[in-house]
């Protein structure tokens, strides 16, 4: 079975920014994404836990998507301004997919 190169982009961002990020991703032509809840963690802004928060202000989510290699720059161009001022991180890794027409 033939595998096709693609990019997997994982963006951890503050929960109140989730809708803005996914809208930006759609504008960048991303065809699909998954949103995962982040339970707890530690970073430049200190330690935090979803248990110690009321509402979504203190929470983080991870938005994961797969894009074609030539779609990566546009995605970063749309997503980075949203992450720049906020707590969060963008990682890009190489991956392979079976059905490239889906991305």
């Amino acid at each position: 079975m033939k595998l096709h190169d693609a990019k997997r982009v994982a963006i951890i961002i503050e929960a109140p920014m989730q809708r803005r990020l996914t809208e930006a991703m759609e504008r960048a032509g991303v065809t699909g994404y998954s949103v995962l809840k982040v339970q707890a963690g530690s970073g430049q802004s200190g330690r935090w836990s979803a248990d110690a928060a009321v509402g979504k202000a203190g929470g983080l989510v991870q938005v994961v998507c797969v894009v074609r290699q030539d779609g990566l720059d546009e995605l970063i161009e749309h997503a980075f301004p949203l992450v720049q001022r906020h707590i969060g991180i963008i990682t890009v890794t190489d991956c392979q997919v079976l059905r490239p027409e889906r991305f």
């Binding site: 109140p16 802004s45 248990d51 009321v54 509402g55 979504k56």
Partner: protein
């Protein structure tokens, strides 16, 4: 009229406050006691609907009156003005930068609906009635403080506002539920109440106990995480600011002619600090502000203070200045 100490002892000995203290103590002792998120959310939906509906039913008995509009206007003005006082106080008492101070100030202009619900429960225990429309005042006081904070952080200039933010603030779940159930209460009145009373009135205090137990757990986690965040100046602000807010609320309530119970509730609203709606708005509008400071202050210092000592103090003062019952 009961003295402050009698009211405080009544309050501290109530199942509501003891549940909160249990949660606080369990959390500080690092117990693994916790509420599933969905359960906590369900409890808050129940409480918001019940309090909004009961307020609406109360208004339906008297019809829409002038006092509703003057109380709404007073609430909006208080919410808009309190951040300026908080901002000034923070500049004197702490070394917070402008952005952090403005973000904290927004929390103290807005309200904590849980403190309000606990306040209505205290009134009920004391047999004191209040204006049913205070629920609508609570909803109206959520947002103006955010605008004041953005004005403060821009130094009086025009800060660019995220266009979707206002919709999120004004349509946040608690406002929709409060206003919506208030409207249902007005529309259905006593007849509607008779149909759902057994679910929304009798179990109310028991549900509030469980919710406050969870809030105690959350506040305890906030206190545990506050090491290195809360300076003595910030701690003092977290106690002093609610008392200043309550004083303004008391005076405003008296001026607009609210009943003793209404004056008390306006004081409670003015004294309380948001920890749900405003933090979410601040993460979008002022992401540079440190959430560790404003969340810890409002949730781990001001909320427990208001719940344990603030409520009896404000009730005592409201009764003293109105000459009403307590």
């Amino acid at each position: 009229m009961e003295g402050f100490f009698d009211l405080a002892i009544d309050n501290l000995g109530s199942p509501l406050i003891l549940s909160f203290i249990l949660g606080l103590a369990a959390s500080l002792a690092r117990s693994d006691l916790s509420f599933p998120e969905a359960v906590a959310k369900a409890l808050s939906i129940y409480l918001l609907f019940a309090i909004g509906f009961k307020g609406g039913v109360s208004v339906s008995g008297y019809g829409i009156e002038w006092g509703l509009f003057s109380a709404l206007a007073a609430g909006v003005v208080l919410s808009a003005v309190l951040p300026f006082i908080a901002f000034g106080l923070l500049n004197v008492m702490t070394r917070l930068n402008r952005t952090d101070a403005a973000a904290v100030a927004a929390h103290y202009g807005s309200i904590s609906i849980v403190t309000f619900v606990a306040g209505t429960s205290v009134l009920q225990s004391q047999g004191i009635v209040s204006e049913g429309y205070m629920v609508a005042v609570a909803a109206a006081m959520e947002a103006p403080a955010i605008l004041s904070a953005l004005w403060l952080v821009s130094g009086g200039g025009r800060e660019r506002m995220d266009p979707g933010l206002w919709r999120e603030i004004l349509l946040n779940g608690s406002i929709v539920l409060l206003v919506g159930s208030f409207a249902i209460g007005i529309a259905t009145g006593e007849k509607g109440m008779a149909q759902i009373e057994e679910f929304f009135v009798t179990p109310f205090k028991g549900v509030l106990c469980l919710f406050l137990l969870d809030m105690g757990l959350i506040a305890g986690r906030g206190i545990r995480n506050s090491r290195g965040v809360i300076t003595p100046g910030l701690f003092a602000f977290g106690i002093l600011m609610p008392m200043i807010g309550a004083t303004l609320g008391l005076v405003t309530g008296l001026v607009i002619g609210l009943s003793p119970g209404g004056v008390f509730l306006l004081a409670v609203l003015s004294a309380s600090a948001s920890y749900i709606a405003v933090p979410a708005a601040m993460r979008v509008a002022l992401p540079e502000a440190d959430p560790g400071i404003y969340l810890t202050l409002s949730l781990a210092i001001t909320f427990p203070f208001n719940l344990t000592l603030g409520l009896p103090l404000y009730l005592f003062l409201a009764s003293a200045i109105t000459g009403g019952p307590a």
